[in-house]
């Protein structure tokens, strides 16, 4: 059974007439790494807010359709009951941090679940180390930089080790190397612990290689849903404002010029370099 399933999900924020998402029907299987992308304002963040029940429990407005997450009907379970199953990392970390120290912020969720003290200690330290902020643990989350705040928000969710992690542009304030390290950590958790990952990102150059499922949205609707290699090799994705990885674009351009390249679309520089080296060897 799918770990996330929506049927004709439609939601309109209070005070506006146009739905932010309409008729969304998607399925995510357990253990998948799903990438959600699409033009700014297309409804990605709104969809994320549905996945942990913030919509409809916290945000009022008009909610239609069905959604089940971890075999629970979101509309019938409060957000705190979902917290064990779904961890959400917000786009703006300031909206999510509140404790007096980084460490307390990361420990908050586990304390609320009533986890034993020793286990909390262990998991918090582990999460702080994974995100490279162990040295900041006694600082206030409000006096560290934007990039460091993002690490704190990610650590807080990692510490919970929920079944599903939803991340909404989680590394936008981080430098590229740090962002890459964070994505590696998330990918590893996905593979090792079978945690389902839903990642919202514009920068496919950095993230497409991790995904085994991609969903592209435009104007509140899903317009592509499937295998990243197949979907990113179509011309249409570019037209709706999705910046496909540069390596994928170069591959497309070369194929268009008639270059004889393997027909498995590359999603990273390593994959394209391998294809090109092969092609030159054969030439």
């Amino acid at each position: 059974m799918a770990i996330i399933e929506t049927k004709n999900l439609t939601y309109t924020y209070p005070g506006v007439t146009k739905p932010s998402i309409s008729d969304i029907s998607i399925k995510v299987e357990k253990g998948e790494f799903v990438l959600i992308t699409g033009p700014s304002g297309c409804g990605k963040t709104t969809l994320c807010r549905c996945l942990n029940g913030l919509i409809p429990h916290f945000y009022q407005g008009e909610f239609k359709g069905e959604i089940s997450v971890a075999e629970m009907d979101i509309t019938k379970h409060q957000t705190h009951a979902m917290a064990k199953h779904v961890g959400l990392v917000f786009q703006n970390p300031e909206n999510q941090l509140f404790a007096l120290s980084v460490e307390k912020d990361v420990a908050f969720g586990l304390e609320n679940l009533g986890a034993p003290r020793e286990e909390i200690r262990e998991r918090v330290d582990w999460a702080l180390k994974q995100t490279d902020i162990y040295d900041l643990r006694e600082r206030s989350p409000h006096e560290v930089s934007g990039g460091q705040q993002q690490r704190v928000a990610i650590a807080a969710v990692l510490a919970m080790q929920p079944e599903i992690i939803v991340l909404d542009e989680p590394t936008s304030f981080l430098d590229p190397l740090s962002a890459e390290k964070i994505f590696e950590v998330i990918h590893e958790l996905n593979k090792k612990l079978d945690i389902t990952v839903v990642l919202v990102e514009h920068r496919l150059d950095l993230t497409a290689k991790y995904a085994d499922h991609i969903i592209i949205m435009d104007e509140g609707k899903v317009c592509f849903d499937g295998n990243p290699r197949e979907i990113l090799s179509t011309e249409e994705t570019r037209l709706i404002g999705v910046g496909i990885p540069k390596a994928t674009l170069l591959y497309q351009l070369l194929r268009k010029e008639g270059m004889n390249l393997n027909n498995v679309t590359p999603l990273s520089s390593e994959e394209l370099a391998t294809l090109l080296l092969e092609a030159f060897k054969n030439a």
Binding site: G146, H202, A279
Partner: protein, 274 residues
């Protein structure tokens, strides 16, 4: 022109953010400041419109020392867009947000209206004219912040992480807009982690590390020198990564543009076949 002479800056909590930075940015230049988190990039650009004054050293904007004038006077010439739009937006509607600075600078009513519709159009925000900025998505709020500064047409534009939350089309628009500003002799300074955006624009790149500038040159050269980038936590643009792996075939290393890359590969292939 912005002249920075050996400045140091220490925050009240004793963090030494700048440890001796000197540079000159000429009118009409497009400069990208890159480097790892905490390297001092935002601190440096806040000196360009007088938001911060150096603890030591001198900053001159168009010949005037920033310590001898006001932020208000400097702001007229240098527009600043913050990294986090929520630190900047406060009005009830998008339209009022954009009108705010224009009114403060004393523009005529008709001019204000014209500038507002120009800015809304440029950033694809027309349909949100009467909407509260806080109902918009993160990427859209970022564009409102940008529109509110572009509207008063400053000579120097300072953008802190302008591409965050922006999709490919918005980035392309931003790129074209910056090119247009340059053509008008305006100065654009961006602080960014977005290597792919920098690769597409190929501006002058200043690389910072721990409060100092460690490299200064053409984007194409700096973004294809892995040893320099690594110390600033920057990764190579994807095309440069590909070409780095193709050097055994005798291909050049310093390629960052995807269309140029295509031509080079095709030429090489033709040569091999002959």
């Amino acid at each position: 022109m912005i002249e920075v002479e050996d400045i140091q800056f220490t925050y009240p909590n004793r963090v030494e953010a700048l440890k001796g930075v000197s540079l000159v940015i000429k009118d009409g230049e497009f400069v990208a400041i890159m480097g790892q988190n905490g390297a001092g990039k935002t601190t440096l650009v806040k000196h360009f419109n007088g938001l911060l004054k150096p603890s030591k050293g001198i900053v001159r904007v168009n010949g005037v020392e920033t310590t001898k004038t006001s932020v208000a006077a400097l702001s007229r010439n240098a527009g600043f867009v913050f990294q986090n739009p929520d630190h900047q937006l406060f009005s009830e509607t998008v339209e009022e947000e954009i009108a705010f600075a224009l009114k403060n600078f004393g523009f005529e009513k008709e001019v204000i209206e014209k500038r507002i519709s120009w800015a809304l159009n440029l950033l694809g925000l027309e349909q949100y004219k009467k909407t509260s900025p806080f109902l918009l998505s993160g990427g859209e709020r970022k564009r409102v912040a940008l529109a509110s500064v572009l509207a008063w047409n400053p000579d120097t534009l300072i953008l802190d992480e302008p591409t965050i939350g922006q999709d490919y089309q918005q980035k392309e628009k931003l790129r074209q807009f910056i090119a247009q500003m340059q053509a008008q002799g305006k100065t654009v300074v961006i602080v960014t982690h977005d290597v792919e955006f920098v690769a597409e624009c190929n501006p002058r790149v200043l690389l910072m590390k721990e409060g100092r500038i460690v490299a200064d040159g053409e984007g194409r050269e700096i973004l294809t020198t892995p040893e320099v980038l690594a110390q600033s936590s920057i990764v190579l643009p994807q095309i440069a990564q590909v070409f780095m792996k193709l050097t055994p075939l005798g291909l050049p290393k310093n390629v960052i543009d995807v269309y140029e890359a295509k031509e080079i590969v095709l030429k090489m292939l033709e040569k091999r076949r002959k």
